[in-house]
Amino acid sequence: MSDAAVHTGSQMKLYGCPTCGRVSQLLRPPAGDAPLLCPRCATPLHHRRPRSLQRTWAYLIAASILYIPANLLPIMSTSNVFEGETLHTILGGIEELRHGGDWMLALIVFIASIAVPLLKIGALLVLAITAQRRSRWKQVERAQLYRMIEAVGHWSMLDVFVVVLLVGTIRFGALGGVMPEPGLLAFGAVVVLTMLAAGSFDPRLIWPEEEDKDRPS
């Protein structure tokens, strides 16, 4: 479709309220930095989420940094009287499952714990870079990508839940138990940060408008 035929809210100076749904039109250009408020519920009105790209970048960089310790450090330790304490990393656990012949389980854990966070970070990087460059490349596909990231967001916490459940249920005192390790903290933070990054990204930035030039972030 040609963008020329599209009328957007910002072109028509129309503001939709995200809280109460009221549509307002800006009649006079605002003076200074004062925020526009919804007349009905006083929610600040924006054409774009404020500082959306900046936030996305911040969360994304944080997530990428923590992705390294999340995979290098053990996420939990198990101990029992027979073998003493054993540390488990995510990759080590996958390798153990694969070695033990549980191909399916290994694949599931790999997808949920390694591939999905990595793909999410990668996809968000693509979105953020293209939005930053005001690119008009494959806009519909990028919007699809954004919706996918949104949908898949909650499911990567699986590992964290499993470890927390194990820590809570497996307690045999001196005989053995499961303890969380620092890698779990990093892993949980990666998942939360990618969710925040996806949440703060404004998909409307996929269709850049003249107005966005003034407010790049």
Binding site: M1, A5, V6, H7, M12, L14, Y15, P18, S24, Q25, L26, L27, R28, P30, A31, G32, D33, A34, P35, L36, L37, C38, P39, R40, A42, T43, L45, R51, Q54, R55, A58, Y59, I61, A62, A63, I65, L66, I68, P69, L72, L73, V81, F82, E83, G84, T86, G153, H154, P182, G183, L185, A186, A189, L193, M195, L196, A198, G199, S200, S217
Partner: protein, 560 residues
Amino acid sequence: MSEDTLGSTPPPPPTPPEPPVRPPTPVTRKWHGPSLVWLVPIVALAVGVALLIRAVLSTGPQVTIDFHSASGLRPGKTEVRYKEVVVGRVEAVTLSEKRDHVQVTVRLDRSVSNIAVEDTRFWVVRPRIDTAGVSGIETLFSGAYIGVDAGESTKQKRHFTGLENPPFVLRGEPGRGFVLRTEDLGSLDVGSPILYKRNRVGRVVGYNLDPLIDELSVQIFIEAPYDKLVNSQTRFWNASGVEVSLNSSGLKVDTQTLASVISGGISFERPQGTQGLPPASDGSRFKLFSDRKSALAPPDGPPLRVRMVFDQSVRGLDIDAPVDFLGIEIGVIRAIRLDYDGKRKRFPVEVEAEIYPTRLGAVRDSMRQDGDDDKRRDTTLLQRLVQNGLRAQARTGNLLTGQMYVALDFPGKVQKAELDTSTAIPAIPTVPGTLADVQPQIAEIVAKVNKVPFDEIGRNLNETLAQANQAISQLRPEAQASLAEVRRTLQSVQETLQRADRSLLDPSAPIQRNAEQTLQDLQRAAQSLRVLTDYLQRHPESLLRGKPDDAKIPASPERR
């Protein structure tokens, strides 16, 4: 696709949109620099780096150790222990290039990184029943581990050759090591306790077989201050198991600690009158006796070999049978041979024995004449005894089993004889056996046996059996009753099991209900987490700034 329902040109707004209202007091932003959200990656970087640094700092040096065999060593599981404290873990076990040994890669803890120096020793402790203490129960199941003895050198080293046996003495451990020679290890093993008055004062640290002299060397370590109890006269014996001795004074059962019954052990004692001797030096060698009795027996000195030629059958005389002198055991039979005497056309039996002249004690001291050589002096002593009427005689020691021994005695009326010293081994003259003495006793016994009223006993026995039969038949209904009881018990057990089955599997069972409830709780928790994430998606800034205050009521409401 949505083009049909949603036109690209906007429909006119249903109500004329009103201008957004600006509040009368413009909100002034305090922060004008870069967004506070950039604190998030900075914190993440700090946390990530801190986590990695901590992980790197807590891992110590990696060392490789060569061993002959990897038996019991498992990568990621086998521990490295220093003084029974875990200080590292085996990371990998690989075969050397030449395939003649295995290379074990060990990751040491940071706290003991200074342990990897030139004179540090590593060895493998294989699984065993460890009764070193009450806490040994857990090591009962623990697999092999690598023991380490920290060196004192300051020169760092990363490649070690592991010891095949635990080191003799651990560095810095107060005490002394000794070597015990033995022919049989029994149930002794590395770690077996050394006991003194049934107290654990040391342990076996290793053993090895010397193929040249066909003897085992057992290395023991006795902890300070008990090492001072060992002097040159200290006797060690194998205290493994239960010692049962049956003699004229009755049955005597002697056990050391329960631990030593299971895993073996060594006891030692200082013979009477040797307590004042100075402690033995480190590494002294001792003989390990098989039991306390032989350990504490006075030393025998060199044995004297003698021959005895018997004209009668020596059925019942075995190798190792004792040689008696007036009731005192002074030697043992070492060999029994059949000979042929061509002159007399007879088959004499030649018995060879070892006697310990020192066991004669005062007799030896008072009767021995001076001479240059101990053996010759003992031979002349024997010669004088023979001249005085000493003869060897095969006697029955045990009437029931017919076992015999050789007695050296003075039978009285005997022909004059001399000690035959024509061969290298002197021959003691013999007299016929004591069967003649035994015969009257046997006759007496037979007479007594005859007096036993076997007929009567038989009759009585018959009666008793009949009565027993009767008693059993009377018991029968009761027995049946108790059988029925047993059957009932079994039935109720079965019922209990079924009930247990039901209570576990029934959907209304408490366990099931609890599980269901827990799952529901979990679901609720997930839901609230979802609500939280939804909120965070809409208000990510609330992570940093907290939940914003309730919106202020605008000064001018909607309808002015």
